[in-house]
Each structure stands twice: as structure tokens, then as C-alpha cells.
Amino acid sequence: MKVFIDPPNSLVLFDLVERFGHEPLSSMAAIQERIDKLEIDMPPMNVTIDDVIKGLKYAGIEVPSGVRGRLALWGPLIDEAEAAIIMDDAPFAFGCVGCERTQSMVKYLLKRRGIPVLHVEYPDTDDEAKNFVIQAKEFLEGLK
């Protein structure tokens, strides 16, 4: 199944989803697709003005361009997701979307989709880390 991960650039979540036999929907894929293009119109990530306009599908014109540009990347992934894992209050180094407003909207859009979603807390101890992996494993295995 296609599993959206949030934060969308979390390598840990990406690895867990892939390890348990699912397809992670992540920033890495969305950005890779752009930078692999022969022509880079808008370095470094090739998010062009057309992308920002496409973001209007997810947020109105009054919403800042940075939010719409981000949603242009992650919105289509959310649209095709069949499940999602969200880490609430993840620290910066774990991965982030760089914008609190986008973060709120990503979570909201996932809720609107009505797909199975696992919310996990960022682990501060070894035991919490083990528990986090167990939770993710059970959720991902349950999707099969």
C-alpha cells in the first residue's frame, strides 16, 4: 500500500514503511522527480511558479506562496495515499516541512481523506523507541 509519512522527509519513517513491504510517499520522491528533470528551471528544488499555482488546489490565494508551494509537492501524495504515519511534535533533525502552517494543513488533509492513520510520539528513551517501532510494525502489518 502507499503510505504517506509525516514529516514527509523522515528517513526513519521511510525506512520503516519500506521494510514492512509498503511504498513510502515522501518528499524525497517528490523532489527527486523534479531534480531528475533534464532542465532545472528553478534551482535548487525545481519548485516553479506553476507548482505554486497548482498549490491553489489545497489552499487559497491568500495563503502564502511557501505554504502553497509545499502543498503542491505533498498534496498530490496525500491524494494518492492509502494510509499514513504521522509523528507528532517531531524535532527538527527528525525531519520537518519547515512551516507550521503547512504542517497543520498536511495533518488536516490526511484526516479529510479518512484513510488509516497512525499517530506516534517522538521517542526520548530506548524503551520509547522500541515501542515506536513496535507500533509502526503492527500498523504496517495490519495494512496488508
Binding site: G60, V63, M105, R112
Partner: protein
């Protein structure tokens, strides 16, 4: 009294709350605030799924849930937040969607600045009140008897004479003096119909000059253009049942209205920027030294991609146009770029605040500019329906609805 539930953030601190209430009072409505228990707010936010940082936005969400659950009685909903607040804009639009999905209440959204005056909200509030208080009238699908509709718009004034559900006379003229322009088109429309003014059984007026015309001609219906135009559009397009989106790119402002069985349930009105209105196309035509009626056909022969024109302002838009012409771009490409620019701005500025429903019906004088209809179709990915006499929607709506007063 019609109760309009206000879901808002920032109005009290922006010096606009009084203006909102004044606008509602002036159309016979009252602004109300759904009661919410402090203990329920967090649960409401959790249920809604969007967790804003601002507590007042959380209160907005909780109030919306009271309405959705039928725990608070209101007739219509006004959702408003500060202009340029990202979080506010996100919540405002999603709450609008939530209310529409969970209730049958008509909704209007608005982002305000401290300059907001009651007059700016008047048409919107009046439309909300009309939708609620004149349900039976708005359900009218056929015109009967001999009636007249007068539409006093910012650019043109239109008159239509209808007899037993058929248009028998019509005329339009550029707007000048409100009464004189209307008298002129009325006389011509009556002459075409072969009907005397004394034989007219009812008259309906709409548009900016509706009050003056209503008083002068003793009209039985004096109504804002959002509901009147909707009725006219679905009658002309023969889409009285089901859903549709009506797009009216006007001379001074634009309207995007979603309707269900011919009755609006959500609408946006924009008019801040002339670059996104018919006025810009008039300016373009003038610069190209052609009539605005020729612009559409010219645009259809061009490709907008060949000429840069994406300014949000008519002044800068004309600068782009002059630059493009200076660079040797063809008139056809420049005309196409002007049409595309208007369509794109209407899409970006306005259509984000409604959920576009199909089919799309494009009306108003600008719907006769084929290049603009093509551009709207390209931007929206669906060719709009342009009904016959599409420039007469307001007058037709006025004639249709006023027959309900006979």
C-alpha cells in the same frame, strides 16, 4: 429576523465588528454567535482535524461544529478572518467547506482589513437574507404574464421584456446616468416587444443602480445581483435543477456563485483589482485600437504563451501589453494573453473560495468575448456553457422573479 451566524477571528481588534453588524442590520438581519462551552473547544478542534495555533480560530471551529450538529439555530453563515493571515485563510476556507458538507445553510466568506465598511458587505448580506427569506420566490422556474427586468450594471445597463416565459424584447447601452440609461433601454425593449409600459404587470431591478431604478419605476422587486443573476443564468442555460457554478466576469467586479436547483449556496464577489475584470479587456482593446467585441475573436487566433502578461494590476498589465507589442508580438497573441491573464486571476483570486461544481456557466457581457471563454475553459479544464443572451442574466432574472409578485 434572519440570524446570520458569524464565525470570525480578529474582527473586534480590527475595528470592523460594528460595520459587520451594521451591514446585517441594514438588510433586516441580526448577527449571532453560536454558544460554545470552553470545555468543548479542544474536542471540536480534534474532531475538525485542523489544529490552529490561534485560540480564536479554535473558537471558530467549535462554533461551526455547533451549527453542523444543529445545536445552535441560525439561518445563514458569515465566515471572516483577517486579510493576509495564513492560518486564518486556511481555517476560513476549510470551515466553509465543512459547513457546506454538514448543513444546508448558505455561506459567505470574507477576508477583511481595517478599512472594511458596511457598504462593502451589503450585497453579500442582502444575498444571504434573500436566500433565506425568499426561498419560495427563488424556487420560481417560469416567468408568467408581462414583466420587465432592468439591470443597472457598472459598465452597461440592460432591459428585458418577458411574456409567458419568453424573451420578447431586449436592449442594452453603456451605463451613464442611471435613470436615463435604463429609460432608454426600457423603451427600446418595449418597442421591440410591441408592448406599452402601462401593460407591464411587474418589474424587477438589480445591479448597482437598483434602488434608484426601483424607486423611479415603482418596481415590485428590487434585488441584489447575486441571487437575481443566478436565477437568470440557470433559466437561460436551462439548468434549473441540480448543481452548477456561475461565473460572471463583470466590468467592475466578478462573481462566482455555486447553485443547487437554481438557488445560490455559496458565492464570492471580487472587485479589488481591475486587472481581473472586464475593465482590463476594455483597456486592452483601446490600446489595440479595436472594439472590445472584436477582442475575443482576435484572442482565439493567438497563443497567450507567446506574450508575457501576468500582472495583478491593470496598470502593470497594460505596461506588460505595451512591452509585448514593443517586442513585436502579434495583436492576436497579446489579445490571447490579456484574456488568459483575466481568467487566471479570476481562478487564483476567487475560485479558491468556492468548490467549483459542474457544469460551469459563464455569463455577463464578457462571456461574449470568445477568447475569454476559451481562456476560462483552459484554466478550469472544462469549457464553460455560454447560454444565449448571456449578457442579459440580471435583466432576465429580474423579469423572472418579479413575475412572482403579480
Amino acid at each position: 429576523m434572519i440570524k446570520i451566524a458569524q464565525l470570525s477571528c480578529g474582527t473586534e481588534y480590527s475595528s470592523v465588528q460594528y460595520e459587520i453588524e451594521k451591514a446585517a442590520r441594514s438588510v433586516g438581519a441580526k448577527v449571532v454567535y453560536p454558544d460554545v462551552s470552553a470545555a468543548d473547544i479542544n474536542a471540536a478542534v480534534e474532531r475538525f482535524g485542523f489544529r490552529p495555533r490561534s485560540p480564536q480560530l479554535k473558537l471558530m471551529i467549535a462554533r461551526a461544529i455547533q451549527l453542523a450538529d444543529g445545536l445552535y439555530d441560525a439561518d445563514a453563515v458569515f465566515i471572516t478572518t483577517c486579510f493576509r493571515c495564513a492560518e486564518g485563510a486556511l481555517v476560513r476556507n476549510e470551515l466553509r467547506r465543512f459547513i457546506q458538507e454538514n448543513t444546508r445553510l448558505p455561506v459567505v466568506t470574507y477576508s477583511f482589513t481595517e478599512r472594511l465598511k458596511a457598504s462593502q458587505l451589503l450585497t453579500r448580506m442582502e444575498a444571504l437574507v434573500t436566500i433565506v427569506s425568499r426561498k419560495e420566490l427563488l424556487a420560481r422556474e417560469k416567468q408568467s404574464g408581462i414583466t420587465v427586468g432592468l439591470d443597472s450594471g457598472s459598465s452597461t445597463t440592460k432591459a428585458v421584456v418577458m411574456v409567458d416565459n419568453e424573451i420578447v424584447g431586449k436592449d442594452w447601452t453603456p451605463s451613464g446616468d442611471v435613470i436615463q440609461s435604463a429609460t432608454y433601454v426600457l423603451e427600446n425593449a418595449l418597442a421591440e416587444a410591441g408592448i406599452k409600459l402601462s401593460e407591464v404587470e411587474a418589474m424587477g431591478t438589480t445591479g448597482y443602480g437598483r434602488y434608484s431604478l426601483g424607486k423611479h419605476f415603482k418596481a415590485k422587486l428590487v434585488q441584489e445581483e447575486l441571487t437575481v443573476n443566478s436565477k437568470g443564468a440557470v433559466w437561460l442555460a436551462d439548468r434549473q435543477h441540480g448543481e452548477a457554478t456561475i461565473i460572471d466576469i463583470g466590468g467592475m467586479d466578478n462573481k462566482a456563485i455555486t447553485v443547487r436547483d437554481g438557488v445560490p449556496d455559496n458565492f464570492t464577489m471580487g472587485g479589488i483589482c481591475a486587472g481581473a475584470s472586464g475593465r482590463f479587456l476594455e483597456m486592452t482593446s483601446k490600446r489595440l485600437k479595436i472594439e472590445v467585441t472584436e477582442l475575443g475573436e482576435l484572442a482565439d487566433r493567438g497563443d497567450w504563451r507567446n506574450a508575457k502578461m501576468n500582472s495583478y494590476c491593470s496598470v502593470f498589465g497594460i505596461q506588460d501589453l505595451v512591452t509585448s507589442l514593443g517586442d513585436g508580438k502579434s495583436f492576436e497573441d497579446v489579445a490571447a494573453a490579456a484574456c488568459h491573464s483575466v481568467a487566471e486571476q479570476v481562478y487564483e483570486q476567487q475560485l479558491q473560495e468556492i468548490d467549483v461544481r459542474h457544469p460551469i456557466i459563464q455569463v455577463g457581457g464578457t462571456s461574449l468575448i470568445s477568447g475569454l471563454v476559451t481562456a476560462v475553459g483552459e484554466v478550469l479544464g472544462e469549457k464553460p456553457i455560454v447560454p444565449p443572451n448571456s449578457q442579459y442574466i440580471g435583466a432576465v432574472g429580474g423579469a423572472l422573479l418579479s413575475s412572482g409578485f403579480m
